[in-house]
């Protein structure tokens, strides 16, 4: 089809606001980030920023706190992504079966998703407090533990609380996504499986899961990105403590930038993370496209 001049002008007009916002608020910061990562940019160099070569990158990679934070982010993602996908999928399977109260269940299961991270983190902090409700129940009611458990005071204790929060908050989203996918699985596939005498487990493995492969990969990509994005829950629950043991990539980056003023270091760190994630996500995207043929 050929477009007239007027049409072309209108197309440009429609594109313009978006391009403008991208150029100023996204592209420029990306370029700036890249440049900053090669400069010595800290509070003692607030006005002029001498070229620093790769020293910021070396500082990041040689930093034991960064390595701790990176491992924490990896663990967080590796635990919360499958955790919330499996639980969300189970709820979706059950919901797909019931014939009453569907909407009520859906709304209630979705409540944690719409609760803000700040609020949800504070609830968890309150519940998991050493003197909190959970320890009271475990120690004084169920007698499962002889002393209060210090959930928030150790590296893995704090990480577990944050990860439980991540899973708790993600079940609802996965439920909705998987429920929608389950409804698209052709009924005749199940009938064919029944004819072959397949049990419930076999139907799940051979019919349901392959049919919703696209959705699984979509959720996987979105949630992996989300996992590396974790910031607020860690900041509110442990604040990175004790001694930066529960910092994740973004809380460590924020700390270096805004508490110690090492903007160059923070920029290099951001860039490394972006590259890692871009590679990871594009691999997942590739996988998704291939499987969908």
């Amino acid at each position: 089809m050929k477009y007239s001049g007027k049409s072309k002008a209108q197309v440009v007009l429609l594109l313009l606001p978006g391009l403008l916002v991208f150029a100023v608020f996204t592209l420029y910061p990306i370029v700036k980030l890249f440049v900053m990562s090669f400069l010595q940019w800290d509070f003692s160099h607030a006005l002029e920023h001498p070229f620093a070569g790769l020293s910021n990158y070396m500082a990041v990679l040689g930093d034991k706190y960064f390595r701790t934070a990176f491992v924490n982010s990896l663990v967080y993602t590796a635990v919360t992504v499958p955790g919330q996908m499996i639980l969300g999928f189970l709820v979706a399977l059950l919901l797909n079966k019931v014939s009453h109260l569907k909407i009520t269940y859906r709304v209630l299961y979705y409540l944690p998703v719409i609760t803000s991270w700040v609020v949800a983190s504070l609830i968890f902090r309150y519940v998991f407090n050493t003197e909190g409700m959970l320890n009271y129940v475990l120690v004084n009611v169920l007698h499962l533990s002889s002393a209060n458990i210090h959930w928030l005071d150790t590296r893995w204790g704090g990480m577990w609380v944050a990860m439980l929060l991540g899973i708790w908050k993600g079940i609802g989203w996965n439920m909705v996504v998987f429920l929608a996918a389950l409804q698209t699985v052709p009924q005749d596939l199940y009938e064919a499986a029944d004819m072959d005498g397949a049990g419930a487990w076999q139907r799940l493995i051979h019919v349901t899961l392959p049919s919703i492969r696209g959705t699984i990969l979509f959720a996987l990509v979105m949630l992996t990105i989300g996992g590396f994005n974790v910031y607020t829950s860690i900041e509110m629950i442990t604040g990175g403590g004790p001694a930066h043991q529960t910092d994740v990539i973004l809380t460590w980056m924020y700390y270096k930038a805004f508490s110690t003023g090492e903007f160059g270091y923070a920029a290099a760190l951001s860039f490394i993370v972006t590259i890692v994630l871009a590679v990871l996500a594009s691999l997942q995207f590739k996988l998704m496209q291939q499987k969908e043929v």
């Binding site: 050493t130 150790t154 403590g241 930066h244």
Partner: protein, 450 residues
């Protein structure tokens, strides 16, 4: 022409369409109403802002707003006094000057000032922990008040010399002292009486008592002999100094041989042993907050400042506690000197800010703040009945032997490294000697860059 019309039509349809679904059917009117209100209120505030600007241009020094950042906690009596008593009084005395007070958490305030220094959005006046003054001076964001203000000495002569010294870096003063404080021992009087013991006078007694009073209460809940809410210099210094240790040499140029000296390591080891014995806690994320833990009988002892008295009176008025001086060790009974300075920042409106600074260090403001547990530095206010009736005497006594934390510009960094190192000791990742040796090397490097 038709083109423009179509653009308008397109925009109109889109916005109507959007309004329809963002409003979700029946709730549309209510929602758009609130939006309108917000729009209006923000519009009004913008207009007032612009009128203020224009009138300022026409009649200089008429309408001024000064931003004052502080770290009086948001729901504290100090903040109530500031916003309900002091600022209204100041604005009445100085028509045309409006004070916009902003409260931040202590650590957030430090962070916010560093960030704002990068963006030229610093406030006019700030209440600073005196330990930050050298750092901010080095960044060049504080006004040397003795140079800029002609009546500086008239004002500073009315304030305590010891407190004023915290605002001094090199040959100049970069602020006025605002309040002074130190920490003393608070203890649960009932529990001590029940155990038949007196307040600990020495560090050895302190260790004994802390262990003795730890355990479980009638409800089966754990009880700790002592609470320390963090592991920074403010928290550790009384122990280090009283036991004869130190952070750096007197010239503040070297840490090796001081922060890792036998005495300093012994102080850290003492806290570690108490922690292992379940006798102290407080710095962990999951711990009970200090005031609540003390008031509900879960923490038996604290080292705290004068504000704790009004805090306890507010939250736990019936609680029976007493105070004593910091237990003495080989170095004597040495507490940590605290206190705040009020400073003017680089881009401040000088005239209005100076008026506000003078007001805050004046007799009226100092006396009002004394009612909420802030020890005045104004000599006249110190003589007032309010101050005489307040329970400041033990603090004023402790101030005479209290020491300042190192007055170096890298103190904030040293401080956070110190808490990381001591956390490592507490969690058993390093021995006290090892952690302090590593720390000494780091401190030396930092101090060399001063």
């Amino acid at each position: 022409m038709t083109g423009t019309k179509k653009v308008l039509a397109a925009l109109l349809t889109t916005s109507i369409g959007l309004a329809a679904f963002t409003g979700c059917g029946s709730s549309t009117p209510a929602q758009s109403e609130t939006t309108d209100q917000v729009d209006q209120s923000s519009a009004t505030s913008e207009t007032t802002a612009s009128t203020a600007e224009t009138s300022a241009a026409e009649e200089p020094s008429e309408e001024v707003t000064i931003n004052f950042w502080h770290h009086y906690s948001a729901q504290s009596p100090e903040n109530d006094t500031l916003t309900n008593v002091l600022i209204p009084e100041f604005e009445k005395e100085n028509p045309g000057i409006t004070v916009n007070a902003v409260s931040h958490e202590w650590a957030d305030l430090h962070e916010k000032i560093l960030i704002s220094a990068q963006s030229d959005t610093l406030p006019d006046v700030a209440r600073l922990d005196s330990a930050w003054v050298p750092e901010f001076e080095k960044m060049g964001i504080l006004q040397p008040l003795d140079e800029t203000m002609t009546d500086f000495t008239d004002v500073s002569d009315g304030l305590l010399e010891s407190a004023m010294s915290t605002a001094r870096v090199g040959d100049h003063y970069y602020g006025l002292a605002l309040n002074t404080n130190t920490k003393i021992l608070f203890y649960n009087a009932e529990a001590f009486a029940d155990a038949g013991i007196e307040a600990p006078k020495t560090m050895d007694e302190f260790v004994e008592d802390a262990k003795l009073l730890s355990g479980t209460n009638a409800n089966g809940q754990q009880v700790w002999g002592y609470d320390e809410p963090a592991l920074a210099g403010w928290n550790l210094c009384p122990f280090i100094w009283s036991m004869g240790g130190s952070i750096t040499n007197d010239e503040q140029t070297k840490a090796t041989g001081y922060i890792n000296s036998k005495e300093t390591v012994a102080a850290i080891q003492m806290l570690k042993d108490l922690y292992d014995a379940g006798a102290i806690t407080g710095w962990n994320s999951g711990d009970i907050p200090m005031t609540d833990g003390f008031g509900t009988g879960r923490y038996m002892m604290l080292l705290e400042g004068p504000w704790k008295i009004s805090e306890m009176a507010g939250s736990y008025p019936d609680f029976n506690y007493k105070t004593a001086e910091v237990p003495a060790g080989d170095g004597g009974s040495v507490s940590v000197l605290g206190g705040e300075d009020i400073a003017m920042l680089s881009d401040a409106n000088k005239e209005a800010s100076w008026k506000f600074i003078k007001f805050m260090t004046g007799e009226f403001a100092q006396e009002e703040m004394a009612k909420c547990g802030q020890i005045p530095v104004n000599k006249e206010a110190l003589e007032s009945d309010t101050v005489k009736n307040a329970d400041f005497a033990p603090f004023l006594e402790a101030i005479t032997t209290a020491k300042s934390r190192p007055t170096v510009s890298c103190w904030t960094d040293m401080d956070s490294e110190l808490s990381v190192a001591v956390s490592d000791v507490m969690n058993g990742n390093k021995t006290a000697q090892q952690a302090m040796d590593d720390l000494a090397a780091e401190f030396d490097e930092m101090l060399a860059e001063e």
